[in-house]
Symmetry: D2
Amino acid sequence: MGRFNRIGVLTSGGDAPGMNAAVRAVTRLALLKGIEVFGIYNGYRGLIEGEMEQLGERDVSYIINRGGTMLYTARSEEFKTKIGIDKAVETCRKFGLDGIVTIGGDGTFRGAVELTDAGVPCIGIPGTIDNDVASTDATIGYDTAMNTVVELVDKLRDTGESHSRCNVVEVMGRESGDIALNTAIAVGAVCAVVPEMPTDFDKLYTKMITARKNGKRNFIIITSEGVGKDYCEHLCDEIREKTGIETRFVRPAHIQRGGSPTLRDRVLATQMGCAAVESLVSGQMKRVVCLRGSAIETMDIHEALYLDKMMKNQLTKEEEDLIPPNRLYDMRRMVADRLALKEYLNYMITNIVL
Amino acid sequence: MGRFNRIGVLTSGGDAPGMNAAVRAVTRLALLKGIEVFGIYNGYRGLIEGEMEQLGERDVSYIINRGGTMLYTARSEEFKTKIGIDKAVETCRKFGLDGIVTIGGDGTFRGAVELTDAGVPCIGIPGTIDNDVASTDATIGYDTAMNTVVELVDKLRDTGESHSRCNVVEVMGRESGDIALNTAIAVGAVCAVVPEMPTDFDKLYTKMITARKNGKRNFIIITSEGVGKDYCEHLCDEIREKTGIETRFVRPAHIQRGGSPTLRDRVLATQMGCAAVESLVSGQMKRVVCLRGSAIETMDIHEALYLDKMMKNQLTKEEEDLIPPNRLYDMRRMVADRLALKEYLNYMITNIVL
Amino acid sequence: MGRFNRIGVLTSGGDAPGMNAAVRAVTRLALLKGIEVFGIYNGYRGLIEGEMEQLGERDVSYIINRGGTMLYTARSEEFKTKIGIDKAVETCRKFGLDGIVTIGGDGTFRGAVELTDAGVPCIGIPGTIDNDVASTDATIGYDTAMNTVVELVDKLRDTGESHSRCNVVEVMGRESGDIALNTAIAVGAVCAVVPEMPTDFDKLYTKMITARKNGKRNFIIITSEGVGKDYCEHLCDEIREKTGIETRFVRPAHIQRGGSPTLRDRVLATQMGCAAVESLVSGQMKRVVCLRGSAIETMDIHEALYLDKMMKNQLTKEEEDLIPPNRLYDMRRMVADRLALKEYLNYMITNIVL
Amino acid sequence: MGRFNRIGVLTSGGDAPGMNAAVRAVTRLALLKGIEVFGIYNGYRGLIEGEMEQLGERDVSYIINRGGTMLYTARSEEFKTKIGIDKAVETCRKFGLDGIVTIGGDGTFRGAVELTDAGVPCIGIPGTIDNDVASTDATIGYDTAMNTVVELVDKLRDTGESHSRCNVVEVMGRESGDIALNTAIAVGAVCAVVPEMPTDFDKLYTKMITARKNGKRNFIIITSEGVGKDYCEHLCDEIREKTGIETRFVRPAHIQRGGSPTLRDRVLATQMGCAAVESLVSGQMKRVVCLRGSAIETMDIHEALYLDKMMKNQLTKEEEDLIPPNRLYDMRRMVADRLALKEYLNYMITNIVL
């Protein structure tokens, strides 16, 4: 296993349920492979400032069921600068870290790429509730956040049914409508409003009015935060006006981020944590771990970043030219598949929920 | 059991978890006592419009664990008028209802008093999450709503701890701080802001700054909706400014109203439902059912209304003069005891949570 | 506050959700009053062996929502001996403990009495899910355990309804039927079999057969562990034989002991923890904390033990003679009230559930 | 869409959370496609006896969040006979059912094949918590059951940690270890005992003894019901004897079958329900719906049955000869992949949990 004698592990960006399970798996398997592990606190900021301590087997006990992240997380403007990166590299040298496992979202991966380019090989594990990382079918925390939304909306349905009301619920997901589309299906929402595709509101209102005539008392509409800050209040006014149905708005906000991880997030985090260590041990660095179908795979960290930019329409012509045509083709297909799935989910919401 | 051959049961005002358990108990015990039961839909509005049907044993099966109310609830402006009341009385005559069990909050009880005075004896069961009914220590739905708040805030704590943040959470309770005070203790909040008593914010901020220095990452502040609509946003700004701690605001809103009732609300609702029927059967009408300590008792429905007005400082001199001095004394003591308990809860929050 | 400069706190007997909240409240308020606090691990065994460390404010952070006990618990045969008690007293002298707050059930209180008599004043806080402590209306952990049972049985009801089955569920409570009676009401069980009173099985089977004819698919019967180890398997056989209804047995066992405490247990534990410290500070030692109605009170620790023995029919003639007649009268009333409540709960189960 | 004017839908075998969501999706989409839907009660038994009624849009409202099955389920010995099948076909003719959507496990699929061969085209949807259907990566109810197990064991961990104990938990899954392996990872169990692969108990005990020395208080061992009825009691005795660690046994039994479905099961059930209808409409009958990776596909119902028998080593030489070599190869690979995944999960449990 050559040069990997000591690695660091950090969580960065927004916290997500399951991050602790990933930290645990990375630590336990690395120790088993004879690699020392340092837990870095407060993400890249802590890396710059050297906030870290060595982790033993028992230091990660009893955390697999805990929400949040025992390593904490924080924003770091400094890390976005050349000086910040250099300081981080310096700290790694000082603590003798041969590589770092970074757990977080796309911002975290961008940092990991820069750190990797600066000489500290990183391996990324996708941890964010938003599921907005193109390289993986699912991110750690996504399943838990969606189940939390479902629990909350199930409660809303009770009161919506009793009072004969419409509830508009804004869920997280940043620019991704994944949480909104899946939870909308799961709670029987009449509509999911997401950034990726347009909503035919006239059709929706007609549908609501008809359904109300047929005896439907309770209506749920899920909106993704990506549609904009004050969007929902206006939507509520419009619904009242166009359908005459009493409408209330709820924004569960950060409640969606916490809580004990679901089985799926615990297993996914454990598998990804192990895959990251196995990748390091096999000398495969500069990778991100991904879930594809039911398989855990890894992808080149630069390519993953390009793929992510492609999905978010942020890929520049210059960057595109750097990608080999065959890979470009694969990447385009991945992005297309993903959008197709979202469109199918939306089709089901629009057609079977009444 | 004299004249009670057929009764109606309705739920009115905001829905509360446990209302179904109360409807079930009323129906089951009444049938056992040989009394027919009609379920009235949509509260007083449905009573006016005669929206009701006879309930058998099995019609209330499998609802004890359901949130909301199977009888639905609705507002009725008409019922607040003389004409409305007369129509309601007329419907009762038409359907042969000898009395009505009304489940709801103080508004529901006011309606019950008017209906009683108009010739249809009512018995009130306190069902509201707000616990703002003076005649009972606890209302049906209160325990469930508080446990829901605790679950939600426990999730917030995870992310607050990870990001080192303060979370301000606005809970329900209308003019009553009961939900805020109790949940604040249960989640380890640094403060509960309620309408009943002032908050020493300077002391709070000093405490927060000191605690942060001592390593406390996560802060929770519970506010009661009674403090005002836009209060919390301003509070968040002030906290950031005075303490420098990143602060987020969450309003779980109607999520607090729904969900499967807790054991306590199911048992309380069942006991109160039975007590209402037993009261009717024993010829004691015009009563409200109350929990006092661990005993289920009943109180004269007019007196309960005066007591409630006294607690809310809405008792007029004229009304006060109608109350016998000895009862007035008892009522004042009840109100005083209740405030004393709130002050003690607040004392604990202010002093032991750090 | 005279001689109380340093106290110890321990949890003993079976663990109960809310014990951590009590430890937290004791620690926080004692520190506020200028009293040092030592956390004693593994109950009386740890006290004998001096397994303890000083607790600061932050050592009890983030535990109010945790099940189990951070101080652990263990059985100690040695503590039941004179030598054991002497060793414990010795340890207290050595660590300079002026008194001990003991959290646990009746066994824990017996130990506290002996320790008190041996010269180390103790204050007892009732912490057990079984609610089998006569001096208090509710013990810490009781509400959580009951809500856990309700959640589990609600799941069973789904499958019982789908398959048209009877489910027999054995719940905890040792010799007390409190958990069984309350959860039976909350889940709509057709019967609760408890040690305190007889069950009319012929009446039950007739009722089940009739209900099945009327379309009832799902039946739930709650039994208390107090009725005996192999009781339930035989009961299941008899039900099948007498009613022809397919019957399954489930014993949730220790699942009932764990989990995050409910609001009620967190608030009760916090109130009782504070009351214990306030009692110490006011110089009132050798007390147990109790809930009476909605008030937190304290009772002489010897009297509490006699009351408990009286409820369990273990009070000897000699002990009885030691109790002043007026107190004896009060104690007999308390025991009678308690049994009356159980009988009323059983009445409701037998009559309204169909 | 030719001959499909009216279809039936039934649930059979053990109930599973999400079956209602599937019934809802089938009904809603079929109605949208102009196909009438009859809900058949009590599975094949009800089909034989003609227990069915037509379903409209609103008849499947408010069930997506309900555990169990609104169509009920029942065993039918008669359906396993030629006479039974003939009666069933007769009923279909009588009610004019052009096809049937059957939701259940392998037994249900065997029935569907016979019914299909007898002239009533069926489409199977895999609904069982056991995930023991070879043709699909996941069955409806599987995710919910596993999350229920995780919740229960998380509670057990609290008390195991407090008392320093080992808990042996028997989970469902019949001959499949899927639930045991995944939940073991999710709860941080030291071992999963499953029918598919041997357990090195000497290694396990050594590991437990070492871990206990290193301070690990709580141990969890998950066993699959497939290992045998009285296996666990003996295992507990052996653990106590070989490791000296106090050990308790819990069998959650049918609690695992109920409860509100998770997001994943609701979405999967909705997708599969839609896929079944789309398959019918496109003239593709005699299929079973499967999840492969993240795609919903269908497979020939006979082939699915052979694949299932192959996985369970029940495929006869005669049956094998009926399968085209290329398909045989694919099927063998599917079975191999599946076992490989289980072995990998087991590897992680054995190596990273300490």
